[in-house]
Amino acid sequence: MSYLLFQISFACYLLATAAYFYFFFKQDSLLRRIARGGFFVAAGLHTIYILVRYFEAGHTPITSIHETVSFFAWSIACCYLSFRWRYTVKNFGTFASLMVFILMLIASLASREIVPLPPNLQSWLLPVHASISIVGDAFLALAAIGGGMYLLQERELKQKRFGFLFSRLPSLEALDKLNNHCISIGFPLMTLGMVTGYIWARQIWGGQDWHWDSKIVWSMITWLLYAGLMHQRFVMGWRGRRASLMTIVAFCAVLLTFWFLLVGGHK
């Protein structure tokens, strides 16, 4: 049952991504409607899948690689839909759906087996810490996508080529706003995720020594990068190219932390 749900939503994401890309080239509004509909259905099915999996496993499905990556993809889809509802950024869906699709691909390749929760992870803090962190990361992922689009569009404008991408990418202002919006939501969530993680660690380890593993080190580095970006952006007035570059670099750190988390597992 849950497997089928996952497959169908995966197929819908594939359809939406394909339609978004076709739309990107053809600029035919019918394709865009198909893409939007497909994406919406996919995200809905994905939500049901995660709920079903929750009941099947008996705990929040954010522990195995498959679960985590799929939850990450779901968060990005939901974050995208959440602010799509507020304002539109031209052709942003094309890039966001590609990211979701790639994550779903990774999730589908990973083992779908339900592993019983190790005793040290059995805590009410698991869903809180993990979901807050992942949703925060999803916003940062969108910020990075926006940053990439900004760099592309800025290059078109600076090199004065006005080719294929120029007409298809949104305005710099819209992308900068998107960056601003996503980071100012993503960063507090990330911080909150780290605070809950700290509380949880104190609970488990009690008075023991602090375990400095690579995952914790990298998440600290990531946090510092975003904190630096926030400072530069809101205090020093950084924007545009530099802010976009920084967003992308910082998101690479997020991905690295993620990598260490998935490989090393939670201790």
Partner: protein
């Protein structure tokens, strides 16, 4: 006697360099030259248009050759030599003149095709001509028609929307940088038609504030008035960079007036808010290095042309459509002109009356029983004789010169008395068959 010839003389930006155009432009307003043209006896009606890009002189007269020389001498003597005038001026007659005027009014002949300013200028010029009563029936009709042609072109084609213009490019680029131009502040550095048009377009898109910087403050204030903006001196340029978002520069300066270092200082004060520079001047006003700064975008006239190139195909289609409309309307107008001439009017008048005779005869003759062929012939002859007698005086009135009513007027009178309308001349064949039925 032949009816009047429509003559159009003019210079525009395509054929004549600015240096000559400047001398020919009627800078002192329309009143004085219009008044002076009254001295020339052969002109029936005339109209003048003068903008920065063109001077057009439209008149109707009997001897186009002689009048052309007289008009040019009167208007331009002392400003340029006769040879220069002859080399730079174009001259159209009748059909060509009509078509040219329609091209001008619908902005197909403009430097920036599709701009709407020309129509306003044309209307203003016509207001002067009609206030001073220098135009005649044909010119009135021609000008009114040219306004409606312009309107038709504007509504039926997209030529105004995607105008082949620097302004269009400026707006397009501005949109990609700022997203929305509403509330953006524009600074115009120097003056020139293209820069003003670009500024006007930006304001039309919602750009809020306008600052005009010029070497002479007086000119700046004049322009600022037009845009409800502020005037500043050219030496305040760098300080003002903090207050504006879009800068359009088109000074006549031979050297650069703004450098990277100055802009980079301003960017610090702006906290990275984007700046959009448009350099229309040739030679350039702004240091090309400025483009290398973060959040600063600089485009010179060639770059803007690249943007315009982007949708050339679409625009060409629109221009073809617009030209088709102009041709169509010129044909219609020429048909009207033709109908205003003596010979067709006489012919039509005959046809109309003959048609009436035939209808009435066809109705009466069958009712008369037992009349011979000969009697029938004489009734027919009587009918056409009555018609001929009735038409005699109107025909005479049309043909012979009248001391106080000119021929055009007389033709118009007779046409309206006998209800010979414009359509009648083209549909006369049709109406004839209708009468026969």
């Amino acid at each position: 006697m032949r009816s009047d010839t429509i003559v159009l003389l003019g210079v525009n930006h395509k054929k004549t360099p600015l240096a000559v155009r400047e001398k020919l432009a009627l800078t002192g307003g329309y009143e004085e030259p219009l008044e002076r043209l009254r001295q020339i006896k052969g002109l029936n009606g005339y109209f003048l248009l003068s903008t920065c890009n063109r001077v057009e002189i439209l008149f109707t007269c009997q001897q186009p050759e002689a009048m052309r020389i007289e008009v040019l001498d009167l208007l331009f003597a002392g400003k340029v030599t006769r040879e220069e005038v002859r080399d730079s001026i174009y001259s159209y007659e009748n059909e060509e003149a009509v078509q040219h005027l329609f091209m001008v009014s619908s902005s197909l002949d403009s430097m920036i095709v599709g701009e709407s300013q020309i129509l306003g200028q044309l209307k203003e010029a016509f207001r002067h001509a009609s206030e001073q009563k220098t135009s005649c029936q044909v010119i009135n009709k021609l000008l009114h028609k040219s306004f409606s042609v312009a309107k038709r072109v504007r509504t039926e084609t997209q030529i105004g929307a995607s105008a082949v213009s620097i302004s269009y490019a400026a707006v397009e680029l501005g949109r990609k940088i700022f997203g929305d131009l509403r509330g953006k502040r524009v600074m115009l550095v120097g003056a020139g038609e293209m820069a003003e048009l670009a500024a006007e377009h930006l304001v039309g898109q919602g750009a809020a504030d306008m600052i005009v910087a010029n070497r002479t403050l007086e000119r700046a204030m004049k322009l600022a008035d037009r845009f409800n903006g502020r005037a500043v001196g050219l030496d305040e340029l760098v300080e003002q960079l903090v207050n504006v978002d879009i800068i359009i520069s088109s000074t006549g300066a031979s050297d650069l007036i703004l450098f990277k270092k100055e802009v980079s200082g301003a960017m610090r004060k702006r906290r990275g808010q984007p700046l959009f520079f448009i350099d229309i001047a040739v030679p350039r006003d702004l240091d090309p290095e400025i483009n290398k700064l973060d959040n600063v975008f600089l485009y010179d006239i060639d770059d803007l042309n690249n943007v315009v190139e982007m949708n050339r195909e679409q625009r060409d289609k629109e221009a073809v459509k617009a030209r088709r409309i102009v041709e169509e309307e010129s044909l219609k107008f020429n048909r009207w002109i033709d109908s205003q001439e003596l010979t067709p009017t006489i012919k039509e008048l005959r046809q109309t009356v003959d048609a009436i005779c035939r209808t009435e005869l066809a109705r009466t003759l069958p009712r008369l029983n037992g009349i011979s062929k000969k009697e029938q012939k004489s009734i027919e002859r009587m009918a056409s004789a009555i018609a001929g007698k009735i038409l005699h005086n109107p025909m005479q009135y049309l043909k012979t010169d009248h001391p106080c009513v000119d021929q055009g007027e007389r033709i118009a009178q007779v046409r309206s008395l006998f209800k010979l309308h414009e359509e009648n001349c083209t549909l006369s064949q049709k109406s004839q068959t209708r009468d026969d039925e």
